[in-house]
């Protein structure tokens, strides 16, 4: 694959795109705030001592609604794209997706247990319920991924192919269990489950944001350190081993990072598809497969795309809003098809 543009110009372009997405995400919403108010409220929130007259509403909307939502979008988009790169590197296949190793299926199962089980237990205390959902989703993703990883190991070696097949089997199993919970659920629970599966950045709050921000920061700092090793792995496992890469350790780290990152993202925002698949692919088309560029560029692009998708989701049906998973899939699926068909000619 040949680079279309140089890494430097790509980073400048993506930096500008992210800045634009961040600004739009803060400045636009169903409540029409005058640009001046948004600016002054933003500066006040940043700590500048400006006069507060007439800014209460702008400050509240910016500080309590748009800011946490924007940070959530930033983190989810970046971490999903980074984990996408990790998975495509691990499977040495540009069509790999974080869902392959069972994180998403496991998280969805965890969420179903929390939603349906929580309702069956007669409802948990109002404050605790959302945390239970996030925790169950996160743990579900982690447990199923660990299982897929275990099944892929034999004689101290991890077979990527076995992992892939085990992932497919466990995903099927997870979705069968979700089906069972769906059958047991009553109407209201069912709708909650359906909406959770479509993802949303709605209702973001700082309290629920920081675990994801920490995980995202960890993944974003850790994965680029392994960029050279990922590059070596592109040549093949034995080649990478001959180049001095501890391949087994690398695989373990990639799986762990993905389970942690995607698990945390799904726990915070529900299922959001196609970012992890499409973004790395898109970036690879632009600058080639060098992971030293691919990883940070994908994080920037993923965050920008998710923020723009969320902007669409919250404006198009206002005052109601569209689940963001629908928007990303509507953009992602046709693009995926385009990639498939383009390779044929």
């Amino acid at each position: 694959m040949k680079a279309v543009i140089s890494p430097r110009s790509l980073f400048i372009a993506l930096g500008l795109l992210l800045a634009l997405a961040l600004w739009l995400s803060l400045a636009l919403g169903p409540v029409g705030l005058p640009l001046g108010d948004t600016l002054r409220a933003a500066l006040r929130l940043a700590g500048l001592p400006l006069a507060a007259d007439g800014l209460q509403q702008a400050e509240l909307i910016l500080g309590q609604i748009r800011m946490p939502r924007t940070l959530l979008g930033l983190a989810v988009g970046a971490v999903l794209a980074l984990c996408g790169v990790a998975m495509q590197g691990l499977f040495r296949n540009p069509l790999a997706d974080p869902g392959l190793i069972g994180v998403s299926g496991g998280a969805a199962l965890g969420a179903a247990v929390a939603i349906v089980g929580g309702a069956a237990l007669g409802g948990l205390p109002e404050l605790f319920a959302p945390y239970l959902l996030s925790l169950c989703a996160f743990l579900g993703g982690l447990v199923v991924t660990a299982l897929v990883y275990r099944l892929g190991r034999r004689n101290g070696q991890t077979s990527v192919t076995t992992m892939l097949l085990a992932g497919i089997a466990l995903n099927a199993l997870a979705f069968a269990c979700i089906g069972l919970f769906t059958y047991l659920a009553d109407d209201a629970t069912l709708r909650t489950l359906t909406f959770w599966n479509l993802g949303s950045l709605n209702g973001a709050s700082y309290a629920r944001l920081w675990p994801l921000l920490l995980v995202t920061l960890g993944v974003a700092l850790w994965l680029p350190r392994r960029a050279q090793a990922l590059n070596a792995l592109l040549l093949g496992e034995s080649e990478a081993r001959h180049l001095g890469v501890a391949v087994e350790r690398l695989k373990r780290e990639l799986v762990f990072c993905t389970a942690l990152g995607v698990g945390a993202a799904v726990a915070a925002a529900g299922m959001i598809g196609f970012i992890g698949l499409v973004v790395p692919h898109l970036v690879r088309l632009l600058v080639g497969p060098d992971h030293r560029v691919l990883l940070p560029a994908s994080a920037l692009a993923g965050a920008s795309l998710l923020l723009l998708a969320d902007l669409f989701a919250r404006l198009i049906l206002s005052p109601a809003e569209l689940p963001i998973g629908i928007v990303t899939a509507l953009i992602g699926a046709p693009f995926f098809l385009y990639l498939l068909l383009r390779g044929r000619t």
């Binding site: 169903p30 209702g203 005052p319 109601a320």
Partner: protein, 295 residues
Amino acid sequence: MTRPLAAFALFASLLSPLAASADNLPQRWVSAGGSLSEWVVELGGEGKLVGVDTTSQHPASLQKLPSIGYQRQLAAEGILALRPEVLLGTEEMGPPPVLAQLAAAGVKVEALPADADLQVLHGNLKRIGVLLGDEARAESVFAAYQARLKEQADWVARAQAETRAPTVLLLLGHAGSSPMAGGKDTAAAWLIERAGGRNLTTHDGYKALSTEALLALDPEVVIFADRRLGGDEARQALLKQNPALASTRAGKEGRLVAIDPTLLVGGLGPRIPAGLAELSAAFYPGRTPLEPATP
């Protein structure tokens, strides 16, 4: 569009003789609960509604208002854009972080219980009455409702003293797939019982019923709630999709009764007594049906 309207409303309220007491009353309402919206309209508050959720379908005029989406998936900023003073809804309303954000923005969030219980309804009506500034009307509407349900219960008691209660199934259809039968803990069972029938199901919730189970239960009356079709058309479709239904007693005697599926959600709404009377008339065809309520 909304700003001049609000200014006009403010101006009008200043002119009105009630201005003194209406000053502190919320003038812009968003309602996120089907039967609560109906009650707001019933108590004369329709003009104050500026947005409703997807379950608020009655009266039809509410469908023209901006939709805030599904009651469990409310969007904080979307609702704030309607500049409401009150968000009225059931305890199912959510997600909780969004309600907290709305409350922080100064919206009075009123989460009322949705149980199908007269005491609960009384409390809810009183609350809506207070917020509308017309408690007397809320009390009289509740008294009439209670009397109406009492009349219904008496009618059923008299009917059951003379005739055996018919066996009934309520089928919820999504035209094209096998129908779901209302289980013993559902609003369907509640309606059947209050209308004087005997619900045949033993399961909880709404579950798909197999053809054989339908034949074995052999209901005398089948109530069906179809979201797409209405009346005779739906009756034909139901028989066509479930040929077995035709060989049950209900099918042979043509005792298939259609009801509006929105009666099954959101607790006790204003249309319940009329719906019950209609069902009762179908359950006991030989008796003089209850007169429709005079408002």
